[in-house]
C-alpha cells in the first residue's frame, strides 16, 4: 500500500454512525445462594430464576458455565461435593447438575416439604438438608447418585440453616428462636440455644436463625432476623458474645477455611467481618472481634463466601462482588482489585447486519427488533433525526417451563432458532415491507434435542448446534424442511460443553470453543476436523473468523488476543508480533472479558472487539502500543492537528463513549450498533431496599 493511500484511509476511517440501542430490557435476577469449591477454584451461584452459574476464579472470574433456570424452580442452597454440584430448593427436591451438559442430572424428592438448607460434610460422604417439616435428613453420596440414609430427631418448626462440625459428628441447626445441636451418630438433638427476639415491636415476632456456622473448636456463630451475630460455646451452650450488626436481618454467614474469619451479610447490603485475633498486644488470648464492614450492595446480601483472600457476596441487587482482603496481597494484581460482575459473559444479542435486525434473548422470550433509520449526515457528536423509529417486530414466548439457554438469528434475517435444555425450535422469518411472517419449522431431526450454542452459516443454508461432548450437529435448512447432516466430533475427547461457535463468511470453516479452553476448527466442505488451535490456559471469551483471510481471532478471558491462520494452521505473523511485543498493561487490566469479535467487511485490517465498558477497533496496519504509549488516546488525537495525528496513532482505537455494553456489531463499513443496558435501568427495577434512618426523623 502506498504511503498516500495509507494516509487517505486513516483520514477516512474516522466517522461512524452509531445506532445506540437501550431498549433491550435485560434484567439479571437476584443471587440466592453460592458455594465455592476451593480445590477447583470454581464458584457456583444460584439465582432466583433457578439458573446456576459457574465462575472460574482461577481464570479472571470468567463465567464458565450457565445452567438455565426453570419456571417455578427456586433454589435455596447449593453445595459442592468434590466436583459434583448439588442444589436444593423450596420444591422439596435435591438436584445434582450435569456440568458437562449444563442441565440437571437428576432430582431426588426429600419428602420433607420445602428444603431451606443443604450442606455436605467435610469428608464428602454425606449431604444434610433442613426441611420445613422440622427434619434434618442425611443423604449418602453414591457414585451414581444420592441415597436417603436417615432422619435426625424431628423438631417442631422448620430447619432454616445447618452447619456441620468439621469432625462430622455434630450438626448445628438454626430454627425459629433457637439453635439445635444434633449428634450425628445417634441422631439426637443434644443441645438447645435460645436466641433472643428483637427489641420493641419485633418482640412478638419469632427470630429466624438465618444462618449458623460451626467451627472446629465447637464455637457456633449464628445470624438471625433480629440483626444479631451471636457467638456460642458449643460445649457448654453458653452465649459468649452478641454483636448487634444491623437493625434488619443477618442473612448469611461464611467461615474462612482457616477459621480465622467469619463474615455476615445483612439486609442493609453490608458485609461485616469478624476475626479471631488478640484484641490487644498484651493479651495473647484471641477472641472474636468485629473488624470490618464492607458496603458493596444496595440490597440484601443473601449469599456469601469467604475464600480467604477475598469475600464474595451477592444478593438482591443481582451483582456478584468480589472484595479482596488487601492484607492478603503483597502487590497489586488482578486479584487485588474489587470486582463487580453485573452482566453475563454470554451473548444475549444476535444481529442480522443486512436488514438491521436485532434478536434479544430473555429467559422467557425472544424479541426481534428492527433498527431505526436516518438519512441525515451529521458531524461527530451529533444526534441524527430519525426518519424511522426502531420497531419491535416479534415477541416470541418460549414453550415449556425451561428457560432459553441460547438463540441465534441468521445473518440474512431469514431464520431464527432457540434452544432450552429440553428442546430446540427453528423458525423461518419472512419480511416483506413491514409485515413479518413467522413459521415454525416442523419435524426437527430427533438428534436435535438441545444445544449449548446455535449458529447459522453465513448463507443461511445450515444450522450448527453445539451438542454434548463438545460435538457439533450440522443441520441443513431449506424452504420446506431441515435435515440432519452430520455430527462433528472433536478428537480430544473433551466432554466439556461448547460455549462459542462461529462460521466463516465463505461457509468453509466452523470454529468451536469449549470450557476446556480448546478451540476446534472444522472444515465444513468435507465435514471433518481441520485442526485444533494450540490450547491456551485461559478460556476463550470471544471467537471470530475473518471474512477475507479466514484468520481466526480468539480472545481469552485473560484479555490475550491470538490470530490463527486456519489455512496455514499456525499463528499469523501479526499474532506472533503481538505476543512478542506484549499487550499494553491497560488492556490487560480491564476487568470484563471481550465478548464479541466482528470485522469490517471493507477493511481487512480492522477487528472490532468489545467488553462491557468499551469497544475497540484494532487496526493491524498500525504500530502496536508500547507500555509507555498513551493507550486511551482518542481524546489526545482529537486535539491534535491532522499533520501531527499519524505520529500518535497506534493499533488499538478504544471508544469509551458507550457504557454497559451487551453487544457491539458492525453493520456496514461506517455504521455500528451498540446495545447498552445502563446499570441505572437495572437498579430502578429492583425492589426498594430496606428503609434506613439517616437523620433524626
Amino acid at each position: 500500500m502506498s504511503r498516500h493511500n495509507w494516509r487517505r484511509r486513516i483520514a477516512t476511517m474516522g466517522e461512524f454512525k452509531v445506532h445506540r440501542v437501550r431498549f433491550f430490557d435485560y434484567m439479571p435476577t437476584a443471587i440466592r445462594a453460592m458455594a465455592f469449591n476451593a480445590e477447583t477454584e470454581r464458584l457456583a451461584l444460584a439465582r432466583t430464576d433457578g439458573s446456576v452459574e459457574v465462575f472460574s476464579f482461577a481464570d479472571r472470574y470468567f463465567q464458565e458455565k450457565v445452567i438455565p433456570g426453570k419456571d417455578s424452580l427456586s433454589i435455596e442452597a447449593l453445595c459442592w461435593v468434590g466436583m459434583r454440584l448439588f442444589s436444593a430448593g423450596l420444591n422439596g427436591l435435591i438436584t445434582e447438575y450435569d456440568l458437562e451438559n449444563l442441565r440437571p442430572k437428576y432430582s431426588v424428592e426429600a419428602y420433607g416439604g420445602p428444603i431451606w438448607t443443604m450442606i455436605s460434610n467435610t469428608q464428602g460422604t454425606h449431604i444434610a438438608i433442613g426441611c420445613e417439616d422440622g427434619t434434618v435428613k442425611l443423604f449418602e453420596l453414591l457414585v451414581e447418585g444420592i441415597h436417603f440414609e436417615r432422619n435426625l430427631d424431628r423438631q417442631k418448626g422448620r430447619i432454616i440453616s445447618l452447619s456441620w462440625h468439621p469432625s462430622g459428628t455434630q450438626i448445628a441447626a438454626g430454627m425459629m428462636d433457637m439453635i439445635r445441636v444434633f449428634d450425628v451418630p445417634t441422631g439426637h438433638a443434644e443441645k438447645r440455644f435460645l436466641v433472643d427476639r428483637g427489641v420493641g415491636g419485633s418482640k412478638s415476632r419469632e427470630t429466624v436463625v438465618w444462618s449458623v456456622a460451626f467451627l472446629s473448636d465447637h464455637t457456633i456463630f449464628s445470624g438471625d432476623s433480629a440483626g444479631k451475630v451471636q457467638v456460642w460455646d458449643g460445649h457448654s451452650g453458653t452465649l459468649l458474645k452478641t454483636h448487634l450488626v444491623t437493625k434488619w436481618d443477618v442473612l448469611a454467614l461464611s467461615i474462612s477455611k482457616d477459621e480465622s474469619s467469619v463474615v455476615a451479610g445483612t439486609s442493609e447490603g453490608t458485609v461485616v467481618q469478624f476475626q479471631y485475633i488478640a484484641p490487644n498486644l498484651q493479651k495473647p488470648e484471641k477472641e472474636w472481634v468485629r473488624t470490618r464492614t464492607f458496603k458493596n450492595h444496595s440490597h440484601d446480601v443473601r449469599a456469601l463466601a469467604d475464600i480467604g483472600t477475598a469475600i464474595i457476596s451477592g444478593g438482591i441487587d443481582t451483582q456478584l462482588v468480589v472484595r479482596p482482603l488487601l492484607e492478603k496481597f503483597d502487590e497489586k494484581s488482578f486479584a487485588s482489585g474489587l470486582r463487580r460482575i453485573q452482566f453475563t459473559h454470554r451473548n444475549l444479542v444476535s444481529c442480522a447486519k443486512k436488514d438491521g435486525l436485532l434478536l434479544f434473548q430473555f429467559p422467557g422470550h425472544l424479541e426481534l427488533w428492527r433498527l431505526g433509520e436516518s438519512d441525515e449526515h451529521g458531524k461527530p457528536g451529533d444526534i441524527l433525526h430519525l426518519k424511522r423509529k426502531p420497531e419491535k417486530l416479534l415477541h416470541l414466548k418460549r414453550k415449556g417451563e425451561d428457560h432459553i439457554c441460547c438463540s441465534a438469528l441468521s445473518s440474512s434475517g431469514g431464520w431464527l432458532a432457540y434452544s432450552t435444555v429440553s428442546s430446540i425450535r427453528i423458525y423461518k422469518l419472512q419480511t416483506d415491507d413491514n409485515n413479518l411472517s413467522i413459521t415454525k419449522v416442523p419435524k426437527l431431526p430427533k438428534v436435535l434435542r438441545s444445544a449449548h450454542k446455535l449458529c447459522f452459516s453465513s448463507d443461511s443454508t445450515h444450522l450448527y448446534a453445539a451438542s454434548s461432548k463438545s460435538s457439533v450437529l450440522v443441520i441443513s435448512l431449506n424452504q420446506s424442511e431441515c435435515k440432519y447432516v452430520h455430527t462433528l466430533k472433536p478428537k480430544s475427547g473433551s466432554r466439556q460443553p461448547i460455549h462459542l461457535l462461529t462460521t466463516s463468511a465463505d461457509g468453509k470453516w466452523l470454529a468451536a470453543a469449549n470450557s476446556d479452553c480448546e478451540v476446534h476448527v472444522y472444515n465444513l466442505q468435507i465435514l471433518a476436523l481441520h485442526c485444533i488451535v494450540p490450547v491456551y490456559g485461559s478460556c476463550p471469551s470471544a471467537l471470530g473468523i475473518h471474512p477475507s483471510s479466514n484468520n481466526l481471532i480468539v480472545v481469552h478471558a485473560d484479555q490475550k488476543i491470538f490470530e490463527y491462520s486456519i489455512v496455514e494452521k499456525q499463528y499469523t505473523d501479526w499474532s506472533r508480533q503481538l505476543q512478542k511485543h506484549g499487550l499494553h498493561y491497560l488492556w490487560l487490566d480491564r476487568d470484563t472479558p471481550v465478548t464479541h469479535v466482528t470485522f469490517n467487511p471493507k477493511n481487512p485490517e480492522h477487528i472490532l472487539l468489545h467488553d462491557r465498558h468499551m469497544f475497540c477497533i484494532i487496526d493491524k496496519s498500525l504500530p502496536l502500543p508500547d507500555q509507555k504509549t498513551q493507550f486511551y488516546n482518542q481524546m489526545t488525537l482529537r486535539s491534535l492537528s491532522e499533520q501531527e495525528r499519524p505520529h500518535h496513532l497506534h493499533a488499538f482505537k478504544v471508544c469509551r463513549n458507550f457504557q454497559d455494553l451487551l453487544c457491539v456489531c458492525l453493520l456496514d463499513e461506517q455504521s455500528l450498533v451498540v446495545v447498552e443496558r445502563p446499570l441505572m435501568a437495572i437498579t430502578s427495577q429492583l425492589p426498594a431496599p430496606v428503609r434506613q434512618k439517616k437523620f433524626a426523623t
Binding site: 452509531v18 445506532h19 431505526g372 444526534i383
Partner: protein, 715 residues
C-alpha cells in the same frame, strides 16, 4: 458589569497658553439634571443643556478680570455664584444677561473655592483654610477671616458633601512635602485634621475623590504609581482632636492600576458608586502604553469593566453627573454616558449584603412608635447611637483616647458612665481589623465586672459592642444571661439577632423569661423598631381587614377558631401577647437550634407558659396563612416552617401535660384543625406529585432515550 456608551462633544475648549493645562476650571450641575455649568480657565461661565448639546446661556467677566473658582449653582436661591480675582463674589440669576450688572461682594481674604453640595447651602473655602457659609459671608463681606492653615500650607483639593442635611467640607493641603486632610463639619463647627500618607516616592496624590457611603465618608486617592487607596472617615460625631496630635488617616489599597512606562502625570479617579470607579489618564491594561483612556474599574474584584480610548491629550480631569462622565480632551469636552450594574458575582458572594440590608431598612417608616414612647428623634437604633455618640464626643473633646489596655484597666474599677463613654470612643475610633479582638476582650471584661458587681451594668456600651458584629455567643457565654438578669431586653434582642451560636439552654432561658414577664413591664422596653413595626403591621393587618381594633379584646378572649366550620370567612384573631413580648418571641423563633437538644430544656416551661406560647404560635400561623403577603421582604420575621417546628416541639415536650390541662383543650383541638388542614394540603399536593415528577423527569429523558443514532469519530 459597567458599560461606556458612545460619547458626544459638548463644546470645544479654549486655547490656553500652556498646552498641558486644561482650559476648564470646573463643571457643576444646576437643579436640572440635564444642565451643567462649565467654567473655563479665563473669563466665562457657560450653561449647557447636555442632551441638546447646546448652550443655554453664557456669562463673561470683563477683560482683565479672571475667574478664579468654578461657578456653582445655589439650589436654595436658584442663583449662580462665582469668584473673580480671588476676592470678588458674584451672584446672578439665569435671567441676568450681563455679569457686570450682577451682585458683587468683595471679601477680605482670597477665596479658594465655593462649594455647593446638593440641597445644601453654598460654602466658601478660603485659601487659608477658613470656611464660611455663603449667606453669612455675604451679610458681612468684610468680616475678618482667620487663618486656619499655617503659612506654607496650600490647599490642593476640596469638596463638600452633605451628611444628614449638613454640609461637610473636606480639603487636602500640602505643606513641606506633607499632605493633610481637613474635615470641617458645618453643623457643629468641628474641624478634624488627618495626615495623609504618601507613597514611597513621596509624591502627593494626583487626584482625590470623596463620596458618602452609609455613615462614612470614603476618600479615593490616586497616586502617580497607579495605586488607588481608600480611606474612610466617620461622617458624624467624630471627636475633634487637639492640635498636639495629628493622626494618620488609615487607608487601604483598593486597586493597583497598571501605569505602563513611568509614573502617571495627569490622571484622575472618581467613584461612580460603591463598587465602580472611573479613571482617566491611566493606560488600558491590554492596549499598550498609551495613557489616553477612560476606564471603569470594579473595586471589589479589581476588574476592568469598560474602557474607551480618548482622542487627543487628556488633562486628568473627569466629572461625573447623573450617569454621564465629562472628560475634557484635546480640543473638546466630551460627554460619555455610562451604566454600572452590580455584577452578579458581587451579589453571589454576598458583597452586596450590607447594601441590601441598608436598602431594606431605610424605607421602613416608624414615625409614631419611638416619638410616642420616648422623646427622641425617630431614628433607627444605629442613628440613635450615632447622635448620642456625637453628643458624648462633644463633651469630651479635650479628652485623650485611651488605648485598649488602659480601657481594660478602666473597666475593672472605673465608674459605669466613664466606661461607657470610653468604649464608645474606642468603637467609633477604629474601623481597623484589630477591633475584632479588642471587642471580645472588652465584652468579657465588662461582663466579668457586671457579674462580680451587680450594680455595674453598661447597657449601651454592650449594645454597641454587640452591634459591631465581631461577637458571637461562644466568645462571651455569659453576656446573654447577664442581659437577661438585668432585664435588658433590647440587648437580648440584639444578641439573639446577631449571634448564631446560642446554645439551646440559653435560648430556652430567654424564652422562659420573655414569656413570663408581664406585658406591662415589657411595653416600656425599647426594642429594635424594625421588628416592632413588623409586629405592628402583623397585628394591624388583621384589624384593617376586619374592621376592628385588637385593643377591644382582652388576652383571654382569643376567639375560638373553628376553621372547619367557617373556613370561608376571615378569621378574627387577636394577638395573645403584648406587642413587645411578641417581638422578643419572634427573635426566639428565629434562633437556630437542634430539636433534640432543645427538647429537654423546653420541658422546663410551665404549662401556662406553654399554652400562652402555643396560642401565640397559633396566632402567627393563622396570620400567616390568612395574609399571604405578610412576610414582607427585608423584615426579619419568623418563617412558616419555623413556626410549625416550634409548635411541634412544644407539643412533643408537653403533650401529656397539655392533655391533662383543662385550659389547653380548646387550643389542642384547634391545633388539631391545623394539622388536618396541613394534611389536607399535603394530600392535595400528593395528588399532583405525579404530574410534577413527570415534569421533572421530562428533561433527562430527552437526551437519554431508548434509541438514537449518533455520529462518533475515531482517530
Amino acid at each position: 458589569m459597567a458599560t461606556l456608551y458612545e460619547g458626544f462633544t459638548l463644546c470645544g475648549l479654549l486655547h490656553t497658553q500652556n498646552p498641558l493645562d486644561s482650559s476648564i476650571q470646573g463643571i457643576e450641575q444646576d437643579e436640572d439634571s440635564d444642565h451643567v455649568v462649565v467654567t473655563d480657565s479665563t473669563r466665562s461661565v457657560t450653561l449647557y443643556k447636555v442632551s441638546d448639546r447646546k448652550p443655554l446661556g453664557s456669562w463673561t467677566v470683563k477683560q482683565g478680570q479672571l475667574l478664579t473658582c468654578p461657578a456653582v449653582y445655589n439650589r436654595q436661591t436658584q442663583e449662580f455664584v462665582v469668584v473673580s480675582d480671588n476676592k470678588v463674589i458674584r451672584v446672578w440669576k439665569k435671567e441676568d444677561l450681563n455679569l457686570e450688572k450682577a451682585f458683587k461682594a468683595t471679601v477680605s481674604a482670597d477665596i479658594w473655592r465655593i462649594h455647593s453640595a446638593a440641597e445644601g447651602e453654598p460654602v466658601v473655602l478660603f485659601q487659608r483654610g477658613a470656611i464660611r457659609l455663603l449667606d453669612s459671608l455675604l451679610i458681612a463681606p468684610q468680616q475678618p477671616i482667620e487663618d486656619v492653615l499655617s503659612a506654607e500650607e496650600v490647599i490642593r483639593w476640596s469638596t463638600a458633601i452633605v451628611v444628614e442635611n449638613q454640609p461637610v467640607v473636606l480639603f487636602t493641603t500640602e505643606q513641606r512635602g506633607l499632605d493633610y486632610l481637613y474635615m470641617q463639619r458645618m453643623n457643629n463647627n468641628t474641624l478634624q485634621k488627618y495626615r495623609l500618607e504618601r507613597e514611597d516616592s513621596g509624591a502627593p496624590p494626583l487626584s482625590v475623590s470623596a463620596f458618602l457611603r452609609n455613615t462614612h465618608i470614603n476618600l479615593l486617592s490616586l497616586y502617580p504609581n497607579g495605586c488607588v487607596y481608600q480611606s474612610a472617615v466617620l461622617a458624624q460625631g467624630q471627636v475633634a482632636l487637639g492640635e498636639q496630635e495629628v493622626q494618620a488617616l488609615p487607608r487601604s489599597l483598593l486597586l493597583r492600576l497598571p501605569v505602563g512606562e513611568g509614573d502617571l502625570q495627569k490622571a484622575s479617579a472618581v467613584a461612580l458608586d460603591c463598587t465602580h470607579m472611573a479613571v482617566v489618564g491611566v493606560p488600558h491594561p491590554s492596549a499598550g502604553a498609551g495613557k489616553d483612556f477612560l476606564c471603569i474599574w470594579n473595586t471589589n474584584f479589581q476588574t476592568l469593566q469598560a474602557g474607551k480610548e480618548i482622542a487627543g491629550r487628556i488633562y486628568g480631569q473627569v466629572w461625573c453627573f447623573s450617569g454621564k462622565l465629562f472628560v475634557p480632551h484635546g480640543k473638546t469636552l466630551s460627554v460619555i454616558p455610562y451604566e454600572c450594574q452590580n455584577s452578579s458575582l458581587a451579589s453571589a458572594l454576598g458583597k452586596l449584603r450590607h447594601a441590601g440590608a441598608e436598602e431594606a431598612k431605610s424605607p421602613v417608616a416608624v414615625p409614631s412608635w419611638n416619638s410616642l414612647l420616648y422623646e427622641e428623634q425617630p431614628q433607627g437604633p444605629a442613628g440613635a447611637m450615632g447622635t448620642k455618640r456625637s453628643k458624648q464626643s462633644r463633651k469630651s473633646q479635650s479628652a485623650v483616647d485611651l488605648t485598649l489596655d488602659q480601657l481594660l484597666e478602666l473597666i475593672k474599677t472605673g465608674p459605669a458612665e466613664q466606661v461607657q463613654k470610653e468604649v464608645e470612643r474606642l468603637v467609633s475610633r477604629g474601623d481597623s481589623g484589630d477591633l475584632q479582638t479588642s471587642v471580645a476582650q472588652l465584652v468579657c471584661q465588662l461582663v466579668g465586672r457586671s457579674q462580680a458587681e451587680p450594680a455595674f451594668y453598661t447597657s449601651a456600651a454592650l449594645a454597641q459592642l454587640v452591634r459591631t458584629q465581631f461577637l458571637c455567643h461562644s466568645v462571651c457565654p455569659d453576656l446573654l444571661m447577664i442581659a437577661l438578669e438585668h432585664k435588658d431586653y433590647f440587648l437580648c434582642q440584639l444578641c439573639l439577632q446577631m449571634f448564631s451560636d446560642i446554645p439551646e439552654r440559653i435560648t430556652c432561658a430567654c424564652l422562659k423569661t420573655f414569656i413570663s414577664v408581664p406585658d406591662g413591664d415589657m411595653e416600656m422596653v425599647r426594642l429594635d423598631p424594625d421588628s416592632v413595626s413588623f409586629m405592628e403591621s402583623l397585628v394591624a393587618g388583621g384589624a384593617q381587614q376586619n374592621g376592628f381594633s385588637p385593643t377591644l379584646y382582652d388576652e383571654d378572649s382569643c376567639d375560638a377558631l373553628h376553621q372547619d366550620k367557617n373556613m370561608h370567612t376571615p378569621q378574627l384573631v387577636t394577638c395573645p401577647v403584648g406587642l413587645h413580648k411578641a417581638v422578643l418571641l419572634n427573635e426566639v423563633l428565629q434562633t437556630p437550634y437542634t430539636d433534640s437538644l432543645l427538647l429537654p430544656h423546653l420541658k422546663d416551661l410551665e404549662s401556662l407558659q406553654v399554652i400562652l406560647f402555643l396560642q401565640y404560635l397559633q396566632f402567627l400561623y393563622l396570620k400567616y396563612s390568612q395574609d399571604v403577603c405578610m412576610q414582607m421582604p427585608g423584615f426579619r420575621s419568623p418563617t412558616m416552617t419555623q413556626i410549625m417546628d416550634w409548635v411541634c416541639l412544644l407539643l412533643d415536650a408537653h403533650f401529656t401535660v397539655l392533655v391533662m390541662a383543662p385550659g389547653a383543650k380548646r387550643l389542642l383541638s384547634e391545633l388539631h384543625v391545623f394539622v388536618k388542614s396541613q394534611v389536607k394540603l399535603f394530600s392535595e399536593l400528593g395528588k399532583i406529585e405525579g404530574s410534577l415528577k413527570e415534569l421533572h423527569r421530562m428533561k433527562p429523558t430527552e437526551d437519554v432515550g431508548q434509541y438514537s443514532i449518533e455520529v462518533i469519530e475515531l482517530f
